[in-house]
Amino acid sequence: MTINQSGWRPTAPEQGESSGETFTGNRALMLDEPLIFEIGSSETTGVDFDFAPSPLPGEGQSQAQPSAPLPTLSPEGRGLSRLGNLARTAPIGLPGLSEPETVRHYTRLSRQNYAIDLGLFPLGSCTMKHNPRLNERMARLPGFADLHPLTPVDRCQGAFEVIHQLAHWLVTLTGMHSVAMSPKAGAHGELCGVLAIRAALDAKGEQTRKVMLVPESAHGTNPATAAFAGFSVEDIPATAAGRVDLEALKARLGPDVAGVMITNPNTCGLFEPDMREISEAVHAAGGYVYCDGANFNAIVGRVRPGDLGIDAMHINLHKTFSTPHGGGGPGSGPVVFSEALTPYAPLPFVEKQGDQFVLVEEETAGEHHASSFGRMTAFHGQMGMFTRALTYILSHGADGLRQVAEDAVLNANYILRSMEDVLDAPFAGSGPCMHEAIFSDKGLPEGFSTIDVAKGLIDEGFHPMTVYFPLVVHGAMLVEPTETESKATLDQFIGAFRSVATRAKNGAPALKGAPHFAPRRRLDETLAARKPVLAWKGAD
């Protein structure tokens, strides 16, 4: 078997010698890797099992001899008759690899990834900070990792205590009244928040409030969430200074408006200075204020959202409290609530009664929880993420978390001021940014755009910033350095960013072909969407 068995890389040494191509597809230490379906087989396995479980006492001799056959799925096999006519007969088509092959396959794949452990991830709106390994070690303690969610309640008090302690920190840091821990991700938290708003309105007999106002600068999940929860969505424009247009918002408020979903600090990286006025106006009009708390890391320890009149806000634990992003998840999105929305918070939740932690579920919800809008997920939420977040929080303490916000904001402003002479910075004139700085493609010559700057940064060894978001800025480049980057790293990034931006402004043709040094050159996304190939279809 050769690595090229599928024929998708038909290079030959005699063609490759002068072209820079290779027979294997590998480039020195950069190794190409086929799919498991191309290198594995249905007869290969990387696990050994004990032989059939010993018969129970009274059932005769143990058959657990090394030579004993493994249980088979034939209907005659001992104990297998209970599958009846459902016993699987057809092959599944799953490839297996031996253990060394498995480790090598995934290790080789890992090398084709950029990651925060390799360098700066200057992504606006998706905080990518150092992930301490202590968090990982704590989450893997058997008392947390090897614990079943339906363990009798007095046998998992330590786990409930973790949830309770984290909840206490979140409520105290945000200055809010309560917190729902069960939402599984940021967008799930948004859903939790707007369902609480719906439930509160319904409880007041205000079923006619069906409109959710969402500023233009909001994350795309916000309108999707509101629609998913049965609201109709209306945009509120942004001002030229990148903030919510307060007058436009006020003008739209009325008896059909359920509330507003706002992001603060917003996706332009700016604090909404009118936040208290917005809250007061929405409340006066009978609505509620949802805040997308994705950017809480910019203000943690310096501002409590509760003091701004917010009714519900989710917190992406990975962003503010360093649980790893994992290539796109899992997330965790606890939601803090004002007193007004607290009665409607979802089940289940953990409460301390005397010395004991109890799990408040459907059956145990007493009168004061009777108005809960219900259950959002099967169990208690992302326990593994809670342990990591609490570990990070305790490591930093109240003083360290305040420093987190300060350093995050300092680093972002340092980049803003170090770049504004080479790249257009549309809001630089309206004062400091918060945790992220925004630039645009204004001033780039015909034929060059944000994407070329992004791909150029890849060749400089950096993950690109967030591109084309927020939508209110043309050709947006959103940069968030986070607080865990050193000045030396920032200086190196700024040097590279300035160099790439300058080359783009000069129309350097090589930039159009970037990245040149990544494991893959620009990928054809149109082809992928037009002729979707979503699963391996090769011969078994």
Binding site: Y106, P149, A229, L410, K487, L527
Partner: protein
Amino acid sequence: MRYLPLTQPDRDAMLATIGAASIDDLFIDVPEAARLDGPVHGLPLHASEMAVERHLSALARKNLAAGDAPFFLGAGAYRHHVPASVDHIIQRGEFLTAYTPYQPEIAQGTLQVMFEFQSQVARLLGCDVANASMYDGSTACWEAIVMARRVTRRGKAILSGGLHPHYVSVAQTMAKFTGDVLDTRLPTLGADADGDDLIALIDDETSCVVVQYPDILGRIADLSALADACHAKKALLVAVVTEPVALGAIRSPGEMGADIVVGEGQSIGVGLQFGGPYVGLFACSEKLVRQMPGRLCGETVDAEGKRGFVLTLSTREQHIRREKATSNICTSSVLCALAWSVHMTLLGEKGLRQLAAINHAGASAAADRLAAVPGVELVTDRFFNEFTLKLPREARPMVRTLADRGILAGVSLGRLYPGVEALQNGLIVAVTETSTAEDVETLAVALEEALA
């Protein structure tokens, strides 16, 4: 504050570059009244690595871990042995600390894993295509109901009594807000999983029938007739799998005609984790793919013609369609999907079948032993690795009594269905390759004593 690399001289130099006199100048947009002048009151200050480790270890020790007791809990979360390589791989920084693969040229590792995961899941569940994971089984189940509404343009879903009650709860919560009509029922403590009896309920308003396989009581039933009945009325069959290891021993729902198969992937590679993070599986037939929620990875080529992978069909997603998006989901459980995929690759077809066979054989032996305890009755004789016992009295206090003796005996139906009189004596017992014959004997003897 060991995670913050800036020194005070760094900060001073940076403030000078910015042209700010102090850090407070950078927070001028925050209204005066909302600014805190120091660390939030009432919370402790920073602590050393050793101190934090001591604190959390003490909390962990207050719990009775599954590995420290004869353990028989299932009901939607299962304990299987996870090979050491799985955790090693997912702790590699290049996977653990990577971002969502929006820049595919430098995320081929994650993207290829997603593609391989999709392919493995589709094959295991018996469908054409799968997405790259959801939050968990319960939320994937709701997404399937919503998808069935979109596909059929009908709003009434029939939920089997064999569906996990927490999954039913999640669907009921959401349906309150979306206007979906759910026809739900309770399980009966009898030998047969419901399925065929749902057929009579299907009408022209039905978007889908949702069944669990094996069901909450561990029972298994052929879904073919139900699938045919759904299709005859142009409704979809949604099958929910909470124990995917079962599909190494029994036919997949897709093979039996299910249109959408969702599942909880936790039992392969992920671990119990007190309820999360888990990994939702979601698969369907090819013709429904544009209605499927969640992230999808697709194969394509790069500028040099080399095979590569990208996130695709994003026109269904919230960042393009905003309020018209297929769902609001903006993540997937990629790291858990990686763990699932690595474990499945280590197993392969052969290993999965062996694992399933060992589970079934162990459960069968345990069922016989426990049913021999005087007064205890085995509810069903058609199961995979989980079965339900009917005790001569309420199971819930019995579970607590046994827990006090250090035995995690199973999940009582009383905990899952509080207040439902007819179910209070039921005890769900799960047996996997991690349960030993000695554990089963310990449980049987303790049960016998407690019932005497």
